[in-house]
Amino acid sequence: MNSSLFTPRDRRNYQVFSIWLTAAMVTFAGATILIDGGFVPAPLGWTLTALSVALMAGSIRSYILFLRVADELLRKVHLEALAFAFGAGIVAMMGYRLCERLGAPKLDINDGALVMLLCWVGGQLVGARRYAVAEEQ
């Protein structure tokens, strides 16, 4: 993403959000592997799940805080990316449900979330490119 969309304050807030999100994703992936593999007893599995959900909630909060004070063009880019990701996720999940009825392999609900995540990142890149500045004028 073109960093000139970010003011120093936005960059700091986005870094905080990135740390929350990375921690949440790593914990979620770790918990999934440990629980699926039967490597942890049930109480520890529940603890890891709770920790993972808590970190995801923290990610949401830090993203909202980032958006509230973000540069207004940056906020517009992010809100459009979110709208695109939400729509694409719904279309992908509903569309694929029909494909499953026609014999396509069953997918996990996490795959829908992955579509949303990729579309959110893609939407940010497209938005940043739309307002890209080549040189100082």
């Binding site: 073109n2 000139s4 969309l5 970010f6 003011t7 936005d10 540069d71 207004e72 063009l73 940056l74 517009k76 739309r130 307002y131 890209a132 500045v133 100082e136 004028q137």
Partner: protein, 65 residues
Amino acid sequence: MENRLRVLRAERRWSQAELADRLGVSRQTINAIETGKYDPSLPLAFSLARMFEMKIEEIFFPNVA
């Protein structure tokens, strides 16, 4: 919406980055406003007007089409 931002900025010999810093926005926001890709919010339009000591309607005006 059209605007005279680029002319007003050039008259004061301010770079986009300098104006952006003064207003607390990104340089890309200033560039997008100048090129007509983005219309600023009312608070930012007021900040611009205050910065140039002008009225909003002296900086921004509707497209005549």
